[in-house]
């Protein structure tokens, strides 16, 4: 069964359509990349999948592991195994990263009928995951994303992903604003989560990230539609030639 199955998804904001019939299927173990010029609707797609109610879905369907995703609240989606690494992670003053992560992890565990983790086990898990991302333990006591550098925010997203262990991870421009060292670390973190049971959807504007996280499939989104799909070589071609040569819409996939 596919982990994600998007059929003819149409969505927008009041009075304006942004996604105009998106089709995409991801089966467990696959890494897909969505590329496309600025404003093509990549973040909209990511946010719609996560359940942001600023966007109105006007048509189509989405299934996560066979379940109707669009029926679920954002928290139910997260608990059901969908994770979105935000393009712009949100600062939450007054809430420490560890308190937040523990609450999130326990919410997900509770949903699956698992007992809550106690403080000791939680800390052990955090230490292990933070090592993976070369993060200082002092992160935990800082307020969520508050005063974090761009790179720290992105790393924090990947840390959350590693802790919550989703079935489907959507990474929205996780590479933007990262220097090369940070990019390597973040990519290493993502690669370590690659596995036969998980699907990954990378949203990116540049090909650069795909040197580190090599995708199985690459799709080009333009004006709210996937106009071309291919393998990792498509990304290299886009890098060399830009988006201009993709004039005509691709045949429906």
């Amino acid at each position: 069964m596919p982990i994600l199955e998007i059929k003819d998804l149409q969505a927008g904001i009041a009075g304006r359509q942004i996604l105009r019939g998106v089709n995409l299927t991801i089966v467990p173990g696959e890494v897909h990349a969505i590329m496309g010029p600025n404003g093509s609707g990549k973040s909209t797609l990511a946010q719609v999948l996560a359940g942001r109610d600023t966007y109105v879905v006007t048509g189509g369907s989405v299934r996560l592991d066979g379940q109707d995703l669009l029926e679920l609240s954002p928290e139910e989606r997260a608990c059901a195994g969908l994770f979105l690494a935000f393009q712009y992670p949100v600062e939450i003053p007054g809430v420490s990263t560890s308190y937040f992560l523990k609450a999130a992890l326990n919410a997900v565990r509770k949903y699956h009928g698992q007992p809550e983790l106690d403080a000791m086990d939680f800390l052990k898990l955090m230490k292990q995951k933070m090592k993976l991302l070369d993060m200082d333990p002092s992160f935990l006591s800082r307020a969520v994303n508050e005063g974090f550098s761009g790179g720290e925010k992105k790393r924090n997203e990947i840390l959350q992903m590693a802790v919550l262990d989703p079935k489907l991870a959507i990474l929205d421009e996780t590479d933007s604003g990262l220097d090369i060292d940070a990019l390597r670390i973040v990519a290493g973190g993502v690669n370590s989560l690659r596995g036969p049971d998980r699907g990954i959807l990378l949203v990116t504007h540049y090909q650069r990230l795909l040197n580190y996280i090599v995708p199985d499939y690459v799709h080009v989104l333009r004006d709210g539609q996937i106009i071309k799909s291919g393998d990792k070589n498509l990304a290299l071609e886009l890098e060399a030639r830009g988006y201009g040569w993709l004039e005509e819409p691709a045949a429906v996939h």
């Binding site: 996560a50 359940g51 942001r52 109610d53 600023t54 609240s73 954002p74 928290e75 989606r77 997260a78 608990c79 979105l84 935000f86 992670p89 949100v90 939450i92 003053p93 007054g94 809430v95 937040f100 609450a103 999130a104 992890l105 919410a107 997900v108 949903y111 307020a143 959350q160 919550l164």
Partner: protein, 438 residues
């Protein structure tokens, strides 16, 4: 409002009956009572047309048929208003009178004295402190308190003394039909002393009663003083608190005004920075629901140079509740290098809640820094979505954001045990607001 101005029958009604209070006690007291009575009859309740009372309509006070102030009862219910989890001394005041059986008096050298029991020789300190700051001419409620108080409690911390545990004044209102109470408290802290005083106000739910309290504090040079007010009056109570704090030089002063109870609440806080080099930090946290109204009115009188004042007032408003913050700052001539900062922040948890904030700056010195800012709005959608996208249920996410909003104010409290107690109190209170909201 017209009623308040035309119908003046309430004026007499709210004064003590008989000749009792104006002809007992030392002569100086009788004279001050008489002056206060006259002032009250002249001005009555503050009116909305007065700029300083624009947002708070006191007409319910004129319209309620209060019984005469309740005398000290023989016994106090077990919930006598003392705070759980606070060690240290506790003075329990019932309707303005010290209730000894429930009190745990502080050990020497802290001194507690009552005007009602002061020998003639001891009454001088009362004569000096009482009304030195809270003068009946300020507004009608000071006059009314002065005409009515049944006792005056004096707490004295001598120079050089550090009181380790917070000193709790549990101010309890007790009665079973509409009544009035007039707590009157004096606090005298000598030079180079340190103390935290916690005032907690409680009373019966579903009963219209008035707590009209006046606190006058003087703080000696070089001292560190923290005053925490926890206003948990009953659900139909009218609470008017007027706190005056006079700071000598090089004082570090902090206050917290935590409001969760009462139906109609007005907190007047007046801090006079009377010596150079002092710092005053005023914090506030109001959590309201239903039709509650909380009006925080602060006045910082920068009388001398090199002083700093820092105000942070926060409000969480649910239901149809309303809030007001007025921050008056007076920088007197010669108060150079004044650094005054004022911030009011409100989260409106429902579309029917309202908040008004206004600075009032009067500056008569040129080398000063005064800033003010206010923000009012609902909980941040992006923050809510971020938390929910990580699996937190909507109400859990909201609770996390509201307690985060309150956290910086609470984090400033000096005493760790007190801080923990307040955090628990606030968490419980925030659940009440959440229930209200949906």
């Amino acid at each position: 409002m017209t009623q308040v101005m035309t119908n003046t029958s309430y004026l007499q009604r709210l004064l003590p009956t008989g000749s009792d209070s104006s002809t007992s006690g030392p002569l100086w007291l009788q004279a001050r009572r008489e002056e206060a009575r006259r002032q009250w009859l002249r001005v009555g309740l503050p009116k909305n047309s007065d700029e300083q009372w624009r947002f708070t309509d006191l007409s319910p006070l004129a319209e309620t048929d209060f019984s005469t102030p309740a005398a000290a009862p023989a016994a106090v219910p077990s919930s006598d208003g003392r705070l759980p989890g606070l060690e240290g001394a506790a003075l329990v005041l019932v309707n303005g009178n010290l209730y000894r059986p429930a009190s745990r008096l502080p050990p020497a050298p802290v001194k507690i004295a009552l005007l009602s029991q002061a020998a003639a020789a001891d009454s001088k300190i009362f004569a000096d402190l009482l009304g030195a700051q809270a003068h009946p001419s300020h507004h009608g409620l000071i006059a009314l308190n002065t005409a009515n108080f049944s006792d005056v409690v004096l707490v004295e911390v001598p120079a050089g003394v550090t009181v380790a545990a917070p000193l709790n004044l549990a101010v309890h209102a007790l009665g079973n039909q509409p009544f009035t109470t007039y707590p009157r408290i004096l606090l005298k802290v000598g030079a180079n002393a340190a103390v935290t005083v916690v005032f907690s106000f409680t009373g019966p739910d579903h009963l219209a009663y008035l707590t009209n309290s006046v606190v006058e504090a003087t703080v000696g040079a070089g001292s560190r003083v923290e005053l925490v007010k926890i206003q948990r009056e009953g659900t139909a109570a009218l609470h008017i608190g007027s706190d005056y704090i006079h700071l000598d030089r090089d004082v570090t002063f902090q206050s917290l005004s935590l409001n969760q109870g009462g139906l109609l609440v007005r907190n007047n806080v007046t801090v006079t920075l009377a010596g150079p080099g002092s710092q005053a930090t005023l914090n506030g946290l109001s959590m309201t629901a239903g039709r509650q109204h909380v009006d925080n009115h602060t006045m910082l009188d920068h009388a001398r140079e090199q002083c700093a004042s820092h105000e942070l007032y926060k409000s969480l408003l649910a239901g149809r509740s309303s809030g007001t913050f007025t921050g008056k700052i007076l920088v007197r001539p010669g108060a150079q290098k004044t650094d005054a900062k004022q911030t009011s922040k409100a989260v409106l948890l429902s579309s029917q809640a309202t908040m008004n904030s206004q600075p009032q700056l009067e500056i008569y010195a040129d080398d000063v820094k005064c800033t003010h800012g206010s923000t009012n709005g609902p909980l941040d959608d992006e923050q809510l979505f971020y938390l929910r996208a990580r699996g937190l249920a909507c109400n859990q996410a909201r609770a996390m954001l509201t307690s985060a909003f309150a956290s910086d104010v609470l984090a400033r409290v000096w005493q760790p045990a007190l801080r923990t107690m307040l955090e628990d109190l606030v968490v419980t209170e925030l659940h009440r607001l959440e229930r209200e909201e949906f």
